[in-house]
């Protein structure tokens, strides 16, 4: 086993235009249609698309035979329409620190290549070195049953 980095990356080619992919990440009606894993659904999604604006995605359904209803949310820290979306990521009621998701969209072969990077920062200082100027605070956190 070798020491790991603190981030992961996933790439996908999607047969749709960049503006359409960007909409899917930022329009609640579209976010509802793909954000929940497995058989879970998204009853509520919100997106205040501006730097510092909040988004949230409520998921609902069964996971490993248990009913769960977690909500993930955060704030947008960088927005370049149809190109780049950076947002913080944190589960409501979870004591774990927020993490950072970067979604890059590039035109490729008549479609869009999506590159997603999810990073976990251990301390605010480390995060601030990457993303300065962000001063958000999360709303009151409701607890949910972790799986």
């Amino acid at each position: 086993m070798t020491p790991t980095d603190t981030r992961l990356q996933v790439k996908r080619f999607i047969n749709a235009t960049r503006d359409r992919v960007f909409e899917a990440w930022t329009k609640p009606e579209l976010m509802k249609q793909w954000y929940a894993p497995g058989t879970m659904t998204v009853p509520n999604a919100s997106s205040d698309l501006r730097v510092g604006g909040a988004y949230s995605v409520e998921m609902k359904g069964t996971m490993n035979g248990k009913f769960v209803n977690p909500t993930v949310g955060g704030r947008y820290t960088k927005i370049v329409p149809n190109e780049l979306l950076v947002f913080t990521w944190s589960w409501q009621g979870d004591s774990a620190p927020e993490t950072l998701v970067t979604v890059e969209l590039k035109e490729a072969d008549g479609g869009t290549e999506v590159t997603l990077t999810h990073e976990r920062f251990a301390s605010p200082e480390v995060r601030d070195r990457h993303e300065h100027g962000w001063t958000g605070c999360l709303e009151n956190l409701a607890s949910f049953e972790a799986r």
Partner: protein, 110 residues
């Protein structure tokens, strides 16, 4: 949603965030080293290395053992595994989400 391990992921990720500490871990993952051994490839004082080792130790990423007059350092793979579980969890989550996004939008460009 994935924090169930006995290890403190905050401390672990804080320790892993530094490239020198990752390099130190790499070194002690191959074999047990004395502190002087650990320091060898790095351009820094023993004191600086000790500080990094302390951070790694606090995160329980390494074992430190005193034998005779030397401290021996080795990797604690279990702690590293808990960090890798976090990465693996989200890897799987996002692979699934991007597949579902691909299915949703893939039908449109025809």
């Amino acid at each position: 949603m994935v924090e169930s391990s006995a290890y403190d992921l905050d401390l672990i990720f804080q320790a892993l965030a530094d490239p020198t500490r990752r390099a130190i871990l790499q070194r002690v993952s191959r074999r047990e080293c004395t502190v002087t051994d650990v320091a060898k490839p790095f351009q820094m004082s023993l004191a600086a290395v000790s500080k990094h080792l302390k951070t790694l130790d606090r995160a329980r990423l390494i074992h430190r053992q005193k034998r005779g007059s030397f401290y021996y350092v080795s990797l604690n793979p279990e702690a590293l595994m808990s960090a890798e579980q976090w990465i693996a969890h989200y890897q799987q989550f996002w692979e699934g989400r991007l597949d579902s996004l691909k299915r949703l939008l893939g039908k449109e460009l025809k």
